[in-house]
Symmetry: C2
């Protein structure tokens, strides 16, 4: 069953939502549970109501809208988030929500009935930019995070999640476990450069990479850069540089999809002619296979210890984050690939390097994601951009898979 989607309607909604919290140079700022988020929620919920969908909000502010199916079955849920980082773009999260809404409206326009209900959802605080951890709403909904614990979390502005929810009237009545999909589909921008670089239209997302964040703190001894022979130094900065180089070497030796990033690096006392006494750096390692990720960690930690020891420095490390990889449902992933093929869209299987709400659903129901290209691979940036035809391709594929999965009820008298 093929339906037509209305690309102009989709673009108009993306632009309208983008005007809420718009930043001077482009992009927008709608931090979770802020006044801008409240306005965004009102706009999107209004569109849900325009279509006479059945709108629900749960106790942590997750909101979903259901179009009834032919039978009393669990809904096929399409969703993502509408909160942004402080300098966010117009597409991250928004595409999955407004794309889902476009699918439902197109299905309504086409007067099609589905076996399973179709639903579209947005989840509270996916970004984690105001309140840590991220993926909070979907995590609470799917039992990965504890409701009371999350309500007590305090944001960067000193306000708790509970107070922020009440402050904008976003706390609903539905219990935590109210949303129980038959399957979960999330359309999202890639946020990376792979699809664009290859000229591929669709990313069929096979899972989410495991993430390991480690902070290393190295303690050496400050010394005069001119008067201290190399052999007598305990240079914390040299150890830090060596760890950064080793992180790169691990990514090179392990090969794709292993990635390694040193995002933070600081020296103290940070003076031109003083051998650094302290150095702090972070290493972000990601891989789709947890065994490989563990091997990368082991090699990194061992090398870091050896480098510090050789330099006469002490080193401590602490884990800032550790998530195991998530594998999406093979059947649903296969359906996305087949759908892309039927629609004549070039596609490749790929892991997601970033976390998404979909991974919270994966343990409880078949879940999977569709990626569309990000211009220059840029995201979490006001210059984030995906071309209209790529947005439309993603929504058409979302519709194709959603209808196949939800099951189309054939009009009476029609043969299979």
């Amino acid at each position: 069953m093929r339906i037509e989607i209305n690309t102009e309607r989709l673009l108009a909604r993306i632009e309208a939502l983008g005007r809420i919290g718009a930043l001077p140079g482009g992009g927008c700022k709608r931090l979770a549970l802020s006044a801008e988020d409240a306005a965004g929620r009102a706009l999107v919920t209004g569109w849900f109501c325009d279509l006479e969908l059945d709108v629900h909000t749960d106790v942590i502010g997750n909101c979903w809208a259901i179009r009834s199916g032919h039978k009393d079955l669990p809904p096929l849920v399409m969703g993502s988030h509408i909160d942004t980082v402080a300098t966010g773009g117009l597409y991250d999260g928004v595409l999955g929500v407004l794309g889902g809404l476009e699918v439902i409206e197109s299905v309504i326009d086409a007067v099609i009935e589905t076996e399973h209900p179709l639903a579209v959802a947005f989840f509270t605080n996916e970004e984690g930019a105001r309140f840590a951890p991220d993926m909070m709403g979907s995590g609470v909904s799917q039992g990965a995070l504890d409701l009371e614990e999350m309500l007590a979390k305090v944001g960067i502005d000193g306000v708790s999640v509970a107070d922020a929810l009440d402050g904008i009237g976003a706390r609903g009545r539905e219990p935590v476990s109210a949303l129980a999909p038959c399957a979960y589909l999330e359309l999202h921008i890639e946020q990376g450069p792979v699809l664009e670089a290859e000229g591929t239209e669709i990313g069929v997302v096979t899972g989410v990479q495991g993430i390991s964040w480690t902070e290393f703190a190295i303690a050496g001894r400050s010394a005069h850069a001119g008067t201290t022979p190399m052999a007598l130094r305990q240079d914390a900065g040299a150890v830090a540089a060596g760890i950064a180089i080793e992180a790169r070497a691990i990514a090179r030796d392990f090969g794709s999809p292993q990635v390694a990033t040193v995002g933070r690096m600081r020296f103290a006392p940070d003076i031109v002619n003083v051998v650094p006494e302290e150095a702090v750096l972070t290493v972000d390692l990601r891989h789709t296979d947890d065994a490989v990720l563990q091997a990368a960690e082991t090699r990194l930690f061992d090398t870091a210890e050896a480098l510090a020891s050789d330099e006469g420095c002490t080193i401590t490390r602490r884990s800032l984050a550790r998530f195991e990889p998530v594998s999406f449902d093979p059947d649903l992933v296969g359906q996305i690939a087949e759908g892309a093929k039927r629609l004549g869209l070039s596609h490749r299987r790929m892991p997601s390097g970033a976390g998404h709400d979909a991974q919270m659903f994966a343990p409880n129901c078949p879940a999977a994601m569709i990626f569309v290209p990000s211009k220059d691979g840029i995201s979490h940036n006001i210059h984030e951009y995906t071309a209209p035809h790529d947005l439309a391709n993603g929504v058409r594929l979302l519709a194709e898979v959603a209808l196949a999965r939800a099951g189309v009820v054939k009009p009476e008298g029609q043969t299979a």
Copy 2:
């Protein structure tokens, strides 16, 4: 001619001067031309006057005190500085001044007449901690720096050198070129760990290392740590780490006395899961041979360009400082070594890794330096320490060389 020095008198003066600008945890802060510097100048000048020396101050505040010689000859000058860095110790600079004073007082006590006058001097703003450049007073005195230009320099507190001089009444009447020694001797703590590590009592300083300070700024592209494959990154931080490693490799490959230090390192945006868009680091290279120092610079600059190019980053560099090496007078250096031998002090020839007032005199008259051990190699630090016996060894050697160089007038009737 051997004279006895009074170690207790020397220590008492070091302690007394150390109480001016004393810091709570030890050490002191007497920034150049500050109120504390003024008090320090008054104390030391008072000691000069107690000995009925002929005290002079020039237009940039350099102060020297002369004990007349047998003949109207240029003085043998012993000197250093009494200003400190913000968290300085009790010995850096002070030892050279109060050691010189101790030599003169011991010579007076021994009723010895010298052919050349003996003089002790302290020079304005050697540290450069309040006003850049450092070695300002000696540089102006010896024609390396322009008086008017230096008077116009503005310090970290917004006050000019000229106003600071007048503010504490330190501007004297002697012209810039008034101090013209027959030779210049500077006793100083090593400020490095070599003598202590070797168990050597005296460093016979052969010259001052050339210094090259370069700041590199690397511009790449910020990107998501999870979604950006390694091959598509333009990681400014990785280039910076590579340059730091190369600086180390240069020191290793060139061998002693080549040293290389990366003292400063900063990434932007400095976020765990973002590939750095910008990185800034400094490299401090030093060598006693300018040709070798130039070769080190060339290798560093070429490698930095290549690393940046390989990563798709742009790189710019700017010189923060560049001083050619200074060689001290071989005869005077030889006299110091011979004097140490006569006194039974273990000694080694070594370059100075730090800059000192002596290097400003080197182009105009025989100049050289004597080093004594620094505990743990620490200096520019409140824990800076040199043991009393090491201080005394240095002053005894200073007296030995000063008397030999100035020439002792033999009492009438005594045979040579």
